[in-house]
Subunit: 350 residues, 2 copies
DNA sequence: TGTCTTTCTGAAACCGTTGTCAGTGGGAGT
DNA sequence: ACTCCCACTGACAACGGTTTCAGAAAGACA
């Protein structure tokens, strides 16, 4: 490995001078040093710089599942910010496991200047230890009990649930089911709450057998949708709590030859790249994704600026938006033939 | 920050002894040291360890686009290996840009023990410099001119192209178009070569206006598909060179109200999670994704074992597989009514 | 008890870089 | 020619660990 001493020797100066030159100070023998650097192909050692400065210029990013298009988009947004600010991203998957998250965070604390975390559960207290280590932490997508002490970029999940509920009620549905995600996560809990309470407000009751809780994975959406369809009186509309569960549910509906939206309407949380191309095109509650990553990373990097270090934590809450496509329609047997036929044109008619 | 000296002082021993204890050596005052570590919440500084040992236990992963489900899956596979071996992943996106790749690699070389790279172009020579820096490098998905000096995990793209071609020819198509990816990348070039030459072998000629080259992005697939459809004599079958271009092409076909596969058959390279749920379910050339990541990372970590460090580079080439779904069918007007009607049942009939 | 061996220990050097500090040398001003 | 000033420089000491080396303590044996 070529060190700053090698460069110094070759240029006939001291290492200190080389260091000064590299940091942009004016130096008499700049040409000779530059030449030495080029000839030797010198690059300073990041480890040595970190040791001296106490900064790694690296940000830890911890997500439950990088193959979830939502998190992939969030990470991409974060990456665009770190790149511009000369930071790097140390990435870790937790597979939705709190234990794994503990390990990852304990390890990261010694290697990064800050962390963006989508916590596995709301009860997890490990992140609080991160704070003890004086490593700034920002939550994205999910909050924490005690999370008010941290910056966060969230989405109005309760309101998203409400939008979904009101959409289905507006179409005339009364037998409405929900397939929710982990109830120990912010999005899991809030989307369900928003959905169920908006239904209640509209006078629609959700019986226990229609109120299912899974774990945000595709398989979970698939299994729970199957169980709903096997009910003596299956629902006519279905709300799924994230993109993967929506796909799982849609697969189940296909496998059971159920006409969507002719027999069952489906509305999901989170849009998909392929949303418009699916059978049928999905009606979803959409939210910013890349933008969430950008905002979270900005919030984090801000903490490195002494001017803002001590600011009280900020919670940015973004709005969701209903995207109406063709997977929702009035319930079967309702008077509205026009709508129903228009909407089911592409499905197998009942 | 609490250092090894603080722990030593508290335990009444020297830093050397604490270090020995932490590395598992037998030490007389182990209880006292453990107590001091716990009470102070001590964690060794990664920077200091790296500086001394010359190892960072970090692997650089460079991909063109993390939001491409293929690369997300590959990264996930890599992550499962690094986790088990106590390594971490420093992630970077290049946005398919060689310049960006240069910057990223130059930066990474000083911060990681090894790199897995999906190169932006085959001509790029920067990776060779990485070798000068004595940082092991493994290619994944894409190779390089001069890449024979490196380990690589690839896919038999030529054969994948052939499979697609033979499938379409087998259905009776003769007006067949290809929407290819960047020709300065391995997959872009090989998939097109395999496809076109297999068609030629079957006696099917691909005129220039059917042989389009784009850039692996959805928008590119969309635009090129539109241009094909506006031809005086549009093709009856279409091969798209990756998942995103396939989606783009499918969107174009939808927008132009073209019946798939009634009027035009579509076969893509790379399966999608949503593949079976699309309108119509996509026929694709599939290949291992997570597994590619796993293999690439294993190949890389192997290089750290002195036993294998000097081994001649290995190229692992995985096979592709045709998954027949409903987006391909005999061309319109062909005698085979049974197949055509079966296959187009879900499309808008012509 | 004395010698020899083994096990454990602390001092100190080192990894590569940066910041401090006390110069050194050159130029401007008288 | 002499002083003063200022820009620039190199030696040196950190940063927080690990490793070497030599020596101390403890155990084995006669």
């Amino acid at each position: 490995m070529v060190t700053i001493h090698d460069v110094a020797a070759r240029a006939g100066v001291s290492p200190a001078t080389v260091s000064r030159f590299l940091r942009g100070q004016h130096v008499r023998s700049s040409e000779k040093i530059q030449a030495a650097v080029d000839e030797l192909g010198y690059w300073p050692s990041a480890a040595a710089q970190s040791l001296k400065s106490g900064r790694t210029y690296t940000i830890g990013v911890v997500v439950p599942d990088i193959t979830n298009p939502y998190f992939a988009a969030v990470v991409k947004g974060m990456e665009s910010v770190t790149r511009a600010e000369n930071y790097r991203i140390l990435l870790a998957n937790t597979d939705e496991s709190s234990d794994r998250e503990d390990d990852v965070l304990a390890d990261m604390v010694r290697r990064v200047d800050g962390i963006v975390l989508a916590p596995a559960t709301e009860q997890d207290q490990t992140p609080l230890h991160v704070r003890d280590a004086d490593v700034p932490l920002v939550f994205v997508d999910r909050d924490l009990a005690g999370g008010e002490h941290f910056d966060a970029v969230l989405v109005n999940n309760v309101d998203g649930g409400r939008q979904a509920a009101e959409h289905l009620v507006g179409l005339g549905h009364t037998r409405i089911a929900a397939i929710s995600g982990n109830q120990d996560t912010t999005p899991g809990r809030c989307r369900r709450e928003g959905f169920v309470s908006a239904l209640a407000a509209a006078g629609v009751d959700v019986p226990a057998e229609y109120d299912l809780v899974g774990n945000f994975r595709e398989e979970s959406g698939y299994q729970l949708a199957l169980s709903l369809l096997s009910l003596p009186e299956p629902p006519t509309a279905l709300f799924t709590a994230n993109n993967l569960m929506t796909l799982g549910a849609l697969k189940a509906l296909h496998d059971m030859r159920v006409d969507v939206p002719g027999q069952v309407s489906l509305i999901g949380f989170d849009d998909l790249d392929t949303g418009p191309l699916l059978r049928p095109p999905l009606t979803v509650i959409d939210r910013p994704m890349v933008e969430q990553g950008v905002l979270a990373m900005r919030l984090l990097l801000r903490r490195f600026d002494p001017q803002y270090t001590g600011d009280t934590p900020r919670h940015i809450v973004l709005d969701t938006k209903l995207i109406e496509r063709a997977s929702t329609a009035p319930p079967p047997g309702s008077g509205d033939r026009r709508q129903a036929t228009t909407r089911t044109r592409r499905g197998r008619s009942a």
